[in-house]
């Protein structure tokens, strides 16, 4: 059982003045796994996600990405390489699809952008890839020339997913991806995420405050409170046998965990 982790986070710390947004966070993420991070608003979940991607400067600690060739310390990665990594092997899915999509260009261009970023210059091929990924995320490929604002919230979120997945990333960071969706739409997205994770062997860090979402999606779970990880383990361990007072409160406050 010597599987290499895809990502290791060691003692990651980020403060905003007096506030400890992330206090010495450590974990490893393995290929094909979904790691859920739950906690209430202000617990540091989103900051952690941004800190992992080095989208904001961190105070101390280390994030190491183990791709097939050699381990990469994100902090030491030159900015061009890091930005490139974020557009190829990593992906970021925003809670609000309007933040993750270009609303003024068509669905096809939204999906094609990452391909054009990495130098693809064949219109026909880009279009073929865009239709393929539309189908993968269950959007009719006929909608390729439609603008995202004509899509429903669930479709926009799936389009955002396609936009990220088109470069076949290994790691996807998601910030409340099901946040603004109604329950039936949520279910469809959850199911889609689950099957994509399996077929593409994706690793996902999923930030949410919805225990139902992590119960169905996440293999492992970290519970955050006040910038600290107060409990972590297999999702069912943490939810069925919560040890920390905060986790117990969180689980008992959920209607149908």
């Amino acid at each position: 059982m010597t599987i290499q982790p895809l990502l290791t986070v060691e003692q990651l710390t980020k403060t905003y003045g007096e506030i400890q947004a992330c206090d010495r966070i450590s974990f490893s993420l393995y290929p094909g796994q979904i790691l859920g991070i739950i906690g209430e608003s202000g617990s540091g979940k989103t900051t952690l996600l941004n800190a992992i991607a080095h989208r904001l400067p961190i105070d101390s600690g280390q994030v190491t990405y183990h791709n097939s060739i050699k381990p990469t310390h994100l902090a030491q990665l030159p900015e061009p390489d890091r930005r490139r990594l974020m557009r190829t092997e990593w992906g970021f899915v925003q809670q609000n699809p309007r933040d993750g999509l270009r609303m003024n260009v068509t669905a096809g261009a939204n999906i094609g952008e990452r391909l054009m970023d990495i130098g693809q210059r064949h219109y026909g091929n880009i279009r073929t890839a865009a239709s393929k990924w539309l189908a993968q995320v269950e959007i009719p490929p006929e909608r390729i020339d439609a603008f995202p604002h004509t899509f429903s919230g669930g479709m926009q979120q799936r389009l955002q997913l396609a936009r990220v997945l088109v470069t076949q990333p290994k790691l996807v960071l998601m910030d409340e991806p099901t946040g603004g969706l109604d329950v039936s739409v949520q279910a469809r997205l959850l199911d889609l995420l689950r099957s994509l994770v399996r077929t593409l062997n994706l690793s996902v860090i999923l930030v949410t405050h919805d225990i139902g979402v992590v119960r169905l999606l996440a293999h492992r779970l970290m519970v955050m409170q006040g910038g600290q990880v107060v409990e972590q383990g297999l999702t069912d361990q943490v939810l069925d046998d919560p040890q920390h007072p905060y986790t117990q409160q969180l689980v008992s406050a959920t209607l149908l965990p």
């Binding site: 060691e10 206090d23 279910a187 361990q237 046998d241 920390h244």
Partner: protein, 256 residues
């Protein structure tokens, strides 16, 4: 905001990090036919909402499961049989003791394993039939039941074929196979659960009241499946509400 009530020093985050490689103590000797050995398992629950009330449930339970065994956990409600069962699946984290499991020819202590190791052990070694079925709405029963088998690397068509034959054996009406189990009755859900666990060839199976919601006919079908697993050399541990089922399939009993 409840964070104020918990001093941050109390639980430094690095203590519960999973960075370190799990340290496994020296291996005790196991008999060749042994599949699972629980030693001196202690487990209690601290209820923080009730002023830190501590309930001790398991106090030094030991259990050995060998090939072909079907061990019944028996006792009054609240005696701890479910707690032990869940501990054997690492669903509950024990306070002390060891739970040794033979996983792909090596012995692993569940109480010391990292989450990703537990995922692998559950995938290949320990199956669990729960009383509940938690699924994403919209996924058809056939896919729900085939999922664990597909995850072990079996092809979709092969996995579906196996699940279809199990569904047939369990008398699950074919019109339900393509529907999401969210709307199923208790007995139908339970049979999906059973098919899900029995489809994969895992040496250890934990059964939490597998026949509770079933009629006599389907109970019989499940008992047949259990007998087949025993004959294949699997070790089973179960909680059986039904005394007839218990006495028929179990060769040993652990009383609480």
């Amino acid at each position: 905001m409840i964070s104020g009530s918990i001093p941050s020093q109390q639980i430094p985050s690095q203590q519960i990090s999973d960075q370190q490689i799990s340290s496994q103590p020296a291996l005790p000797r196991f008999a060749a036919q042994t599949l699972l050995q629980a030693e001196q398992v202690h487990k209690g629950f601290t209820l923080h909402a009730q002023g830190g009330l501590h309930l001790s449930v398991l106090a030094g339970i030991s259990l050995t499961v060998n090939q072909g065994d079907c061990v019944a956990l028996q006792g009054a409600s609240g005696s701890g049989k479910s707690t032990l069962m869940r501990s054997l699946y690492a669903n509950y984290r024990v306070d002390s003791g060891n739970i040794w499991v033979k996983h792909q020819d090596s012995w692993r202590d569940l109480t010391q394993c990292q989450p990703h190791e537990l995922i692998a052990i559950r995938q290949h070694t320990i199956g669990y039939v729960s009383q509940f079925l938690r699924v994403i709405p919209r996924v058809p029963a056939l896919e729900v039941a085939a999922e664990p088998l597909i995850e072990t690397g079996v092809s979709k068509s092969e996995a579906f074929a196996k699940v279809r034959s199990l569904f047939t054996h369990l008398n699950l009406p074919e019109r339900l196979w393509s529907l999401s189990p969210t709307t199923f009755s208790g007995g139908e859900k339970q049979r999906v659960n059973i098919a899900r666990a029995f489809a994969v060839d895992r040496p250890i199976l934990l059964l939490d009241e597998p026949t509770a919601a079933l009629d006599a006919n389907n109970r019989e079908a499940v008992m047949q499946l259990i007998e087949e697993k025993k004959a294949q050399g699997c070790g089973l541990v179960g909680i059986f509400h039904d005394a007839d089922v218990r006495s028929s399939v179990c060769n040993r009993t652990l009383t609480f």
